[in-house]
């Protein structure tokens, strides 16, 4: 039985899990859940995740929810050999990854508050541009991490990079400039060059960007 990922391609944490799956070289069946139609709130999906959040992973008789927990589970179960460094087993090294996975949720929240995708797509709202200082706080934190190491949690690529990457990438919905954050920019480029990054992220990001463009800059009607 193959792993099943309940996935929404627009969702950064969902794409973070898929990057982990690709990095581990695992076979996976993707079941797309439509966030736009609210499919995650239906009774069927609630049985998989009572919190109605995407992603969720079913691996034979176990279901794991919460994107970062899914990534940790997949590494604990399947990461062998040179893949083991994605989530190191040494307690001290693992602690740094765990710390950045949890701290990364603060950054993700700042970016989401600023972008306001639920408000823009569902309620005709604008992004919360006034929260740009909090976005810059999170980017500064990430920039400072990268002053010490090549990657988010040390000198090796880890699952912490996947989630930090998909979160920063989401800022592309508003073409947020990273010019003030050269190390973040370079790191982002580094992750982009991984063989699976485009396949996992491009379509979902385009969906988000096109959606934002349509909502925020709708074509003006011309009349005579």
């Amino acid at each position: 039985m193959v792993i099943v990922l309940y996935h929404a391609k627009i969702s950064p944490p969902s794409r973070g899990v898929l990057m982990t799956i690709r990095a581990l070289g695992l076979d996976c069946e993707i079941k797309e859940i439509s966030l736009f139609t609210g499919e995650q709130y239906g009774d069927d999906y609630k049985k998989i995740n009572p919190r109605s959040k995407v992603p969720a992973l079913v691996d034979e008789d176990i279901t794991v929810c919460e994107s970062r927990a899914i990534a940790c589970y997949l590494c604990n179960k399947y990461a062998k050999g040179d893949k083991a460094s994605l989530y190191p087993s040494d307690a001290n090294e693992r602690a740094i990854v765990d710390m950045q996975l949890y701290a990364g949720e603060w950054a993700a929240q700042n970016y989401l508050t600023y972008l306001n995708p639920a408000g823009v797509f569902r309620r005709g709202e604008k992004p919360k541009y006034e929260t740009e200082p909090q976005v810059k706080d999170s980017l500064t934190y990430t920039e400072n991490l990268l002053k010490k190491h090549k990657f988010i949690a040390g000198d090796n690529l880890t699952i912490a990079d996947f989630f930090a990457f998909t979160d920063v990438l989401f800022l592309d919905l508003l073409n947020f400039s990273l010019d003030e954050f050269p190390l973040v920019k370079a790191w982002r480029q580094n992750i982009t060059s991984l063989s699976y990054t485009s396949e996992v992220n491009d379509e979902g990001l385009k969906l988000g960007k096109d959606g934002f463009e349509a909502k925020l800059n709708p074509p003006k009607e011309t009349g005579f």
Binding site: A69, I70, Y73, N92, A95, I96, L101, A103, Y141
Partner: protein
């Protein structure tokens, strides 16, 4: 020519060996790397990290951080945790922040049990705990959002009782996660219980919440957590402090609003 009796030599050697053992023990004890936990006793994440330390019976030193005086923003603390957040753990030359990451680290490094672990090693069981660690942050937000702890203590807010529905949503989730088990991640206690129970315990202490009519299993589980032998010493002082702060300020805010 110096003659030394054989037995005297033996006695001296034994004495020196005993001295060396005692001396090196003293040196090790003096310079022993004791865990240091920087915390704010009133704060749930701080107390949850301390629960793990006490559950594992680890020697430690508490370093209180005076948030009222802004100590968490001072260079001395920022050197420990650049995000200026509490708690933080120092273990020798390593510093770890984020309460849940601290909890996982302590178990990964120091937990000796092979069965009924606070943080299981088997991937499936660990996956159940990890997802609860993440989900509990959101559940905590729901409950703390209803209580509006920050708004009450640092501002003029009162509790919007209509938002109790958020607390009930969190209770419903806890109930689902518990299922028919005694603990939230299965049949034995794990670190997930500390983080998942703590918002409800805050609601009980700060706002005298006690409406578990629809969730008797959740109530029983919370009581199980409260009954742990190290619960009181970890939590009572901090909980009492924040409860008093909250209740006094809430009353003042209500009076001012009239």
């Amino acid at each position: 020519m110096i003659r030394v009796h054989g037995n005297t030599i033996l006695t001296c050697v034994i004495f020196l060996q005993i001295f060396e053992i005692h001396f090196s023990y003293s040196i090790r004890k003096t310079f022993k790397m004791v865990l240091k936990l920087y915390l704010m006793p009133a704060s749930p994440p701080s107390r949850n990290a301390l629960m793990v330390i006490n559950a594992l019976g680890l020697e430690h030193e508490i370093k209180p951080v005076n948030v009222a005086k802004g100590e968490q923003k001072q260079p001395e603390y920022l050197a420990v945790n650049p995000r200026g957040k509490i708690p933080a753990l120092q273990d020798g030359e390593y510093t770890i922040a984020e309460s849940r990451a601290i909890a996982c680290y302590l178990c990964n490094k120091y937990e000796k049990n092979s069965e009924n672990r606070l943080y299981p090693t088997c991937p499936q069981a660990r996956g159940v705990v990890d997802q609860l660690l993440y989900a509990s942050e959101n559940m905590n937000d729901m409950v703390i959002g209803y209580l509006n702890v920050g708004g009450v203590i640092f501002g003029s807010a009162v509790v919007d009782e209509e938002k109790v529905t958020e607390l009930h949503k969190a209770l419903a989730l806890a109930n689902t996660y518990l299922g028919s088990n005694n603990y939230v991640a299965g049949e034995h206690l794990t670190i997930a219980d500390f983080f998942t129970a703590s918002p409800f315990i805050m609601a009980e202490e700060l706002h005298d919440f006690n409406d578990y009519t629809n969730y008797p299993a959740v109530k029983a589980w919370i009581n199980r957590v409260r009954a742990l032998p190290y619960f009181d010493k970890t939590n009572n002082e901090g909980l009492a402090a924040i409860a008093k702060m909250y209740k006094d300020k809430l009353a003042a805010n209500k009076a001012a609003a009239k």
